[in-house]
Symmetry: C2
Subunit: 366 residues, 2 copies
């Protein structure tokens, strides 16, 4: 028996690619490197992405088709190629990002997202290049806080890969899981789905050059935290708490999650949010609604820096949900508090980078 | 062979009771109803409590001892008695308690315990007989709120049973899991242990005659909630929330837990805590720190009554942790709010009792 290309291609035309329901030949997935040498056949199958889910099954199906329609004697060698460049491996992601900071809280409702948003704004005001990733799958709030709820980031081919382009607002590069997910459905996501989506927002987005890449993590401890520390070497974590005892107890757990010897992410410090209330009408008065300096005491107890105390300042004619980060106006009490917080974060990150070795990425358990 | 009592008692004296390490005769556990009829022997073993864990093994050991030391031919019949009366069965507990109200919240930190304590105080001020059981194993706060942290309730023999006597403060009968447990250990309790302790505080305590028996439940949903609805027919539940979106989402889950068709506890209504902040220095001003009327909207949406809105009123010279329930002074804004809340609860309970059948106790799954 003599093999010739048409025999092989006719066999491959019986294999349908599930991605577009065309056969391998129609779909132009058979590369022009087909070589025949006696009963030996070799060629490549070309896929769009290096992560194509049907890659293995298509290689197997092509082999079976040749054995069935040509001859079981044919010795088939199939290699795979992809039109797109592969995602860099873990450890080589975000090469132009200098510092990666996770913002976390032990429990919900303490203002973690407000702190993340305003910290990002204040760091940008200090002249740094800032990226902010809203990874809070249970309640992504960045689209609302930055008033970009209708934004739908698009993808662009950059360096041979289709990358998601972050939204730019107030000089910050922003992506939120909320751009891609209906928040009402989010809690139903199985851990794996949410983690994969988050990995894409980190690895397949055009974050470019950044001084600070802030990741707003979900409250508590979750699969999302694990995904992040398995994907990126986090420079450090900022933990947000109110002075309430119940919040502090959870903040303690949150700190332990990062410092745990399997994770080893340094704690940059604690932020005391809702530290006191000041009525705009009585600017000198501080009402310690949730107790006085609870987070400050916790910081001392756990030997971590207190990065800042953020008060609630409100006027009776002003609603709580303004929709723009207060840090945009540094002439307000709260705006100044966030600017001081940003400066403290910069100092702690510098100190951490001088005194400690880079964080190691947590290994994935197979 | 002729049997006589000394033969039998000598055999029983070889059996050691692990409870006090005496033998059954020394421990006076063999009743004086020993009867011998040919080769038939019958008598009772007397135990302190009907729930003695060694009851079965002692009966078996006594039988074996007679067969071993007297004769394998002896036909032994042993009955058991206890010096104490048995705990009434589920469904017959607390016969003198008219209404049982669970106070719950979707999440911690919303002031559930503060509301429970002040609701109890206000109901007592309205002239009702009130009992309060602090079942919040994760953070029992009643001992502190009622300033009885050093109290150690004792047991008294009442009607043939050793019953725990509740502490009395501000005219309220009070028991807390915190009197018996180190709170730092509480979260380590396996579900079963905490549930058993709670059952004892309900069933083996001298609650006597009560108009309202309030149970301060842990936040969220837990084994403790299940234990309570499996032990008592709860008249209804009061759910506490702040106006914050994150708290409301959890309050919704808390309501669904009670109205679930396996539980069927009526919702008496929602309490909006931290509804606004009023500085004592500017008594006319309301600052809606956490959003305006969030719980009111949730009550409308879920078609449950809004029982009350409790503001935060504070003076700058006054700390948040005073240690006495604010409801004690009805001349304060907050005191008046709690008195109105108590009146609303009384109205809703009356209405519920007129319009609906008594709650059924949830059956235990074996």
């Amino acid at each position: 028996m003599t093999l010739y290309p048409k025999l092989i291609l006719d066999a491959l035309a019986t294999v349908r690619y599930p991605g577009n329901k065309k056969n391998l030949v129609e779909a132009e997935m058979v590369a022009d490197n087909l070589r025949i040498d006696g009963m030996k056949v070799s060629f490549s199958l070309i896929f769009e992405k290096p992560t194509d889910p049907f890659m293995k099954s298509m290689v197997k199906a092509a082999e079976t088709a040749i054995h069935t329609y040509v001859s079981p004697e044919v010795e088939v060698t199939i290699t795979t190629e992809s039109r797109q460049a592969a995602r860099p491996e873990v450890g080589k992601l975000l090469p132009q990002v200098k510092n990666i900071i996770g913002v976390s809280s032990g429990k919900g409702g303490v203002g973690k997202s407000t702190v993340s948003a305003n910290l990002a704004v204040s760091l940008a005001k200090l002249g740094y290049k800032v990226g902010l990733l809203d990874a809070d799958i249970f309640g992504p709030s960045m689209p609302k806080m930055f008033q970009v709820e209708d934004a739908r980031p698009y993808a662009e081919n950059i360096g041979g890969r289709d990358l998601i382009v972050p939204i730019e607002k107030y000089g910050i590069k922003l992506l939120s899981i909320g751009f891609f997910v209906d928040p009402d459905q989010a809690t139903l996501w199985r851990g794996g789905m949410a983690s994969n989506a988050l990995k894409q927002l980190i690895a397949d987005a055009d974050w470019g050059e950044l001084d600070y890449f802030l990741i707003d993590l979900p409250p508590g401890t979750s699969d999302i935290h694990l995904t992040v520390v398995q994907t990126l070497a986090m420079t450090g974590a900022v933990v947000v708490s109110t002075p309430q005892a119940v919040a502090l107890a959870d903040a303690r757990k949150g700190i332990n999650m990062f410092t745990n010897d399997k994770v080893n992410v340094p704690i940059l410090g604690l932020v005391e949010n809702m530290a006191w209330f000041t009525p705009a009408e009585l600017p000198e008065n501080k009402y310690y609604i949730f107790g006085k300096e609870g987070a400050k005491s916790l910081a001392e107890e756990m030997n971590v820096p207190l990065l800042g105390q953020i008060p609630i300042v409100q006027s009776i004619c002003e609603s709580g949900d303004k929709g723009t980060p207060v840090a945009l106006d540094e002439n307000t009490v709260t705006g100044r508090a966030f600017l001081q917080l940003a400066a403290a974060v910069v100092r702690q990150v510098d100190r951490r980078n001088m005194e400690m070795a880079p964080t190691k990425i947590v290994e994935t358990h197979k």
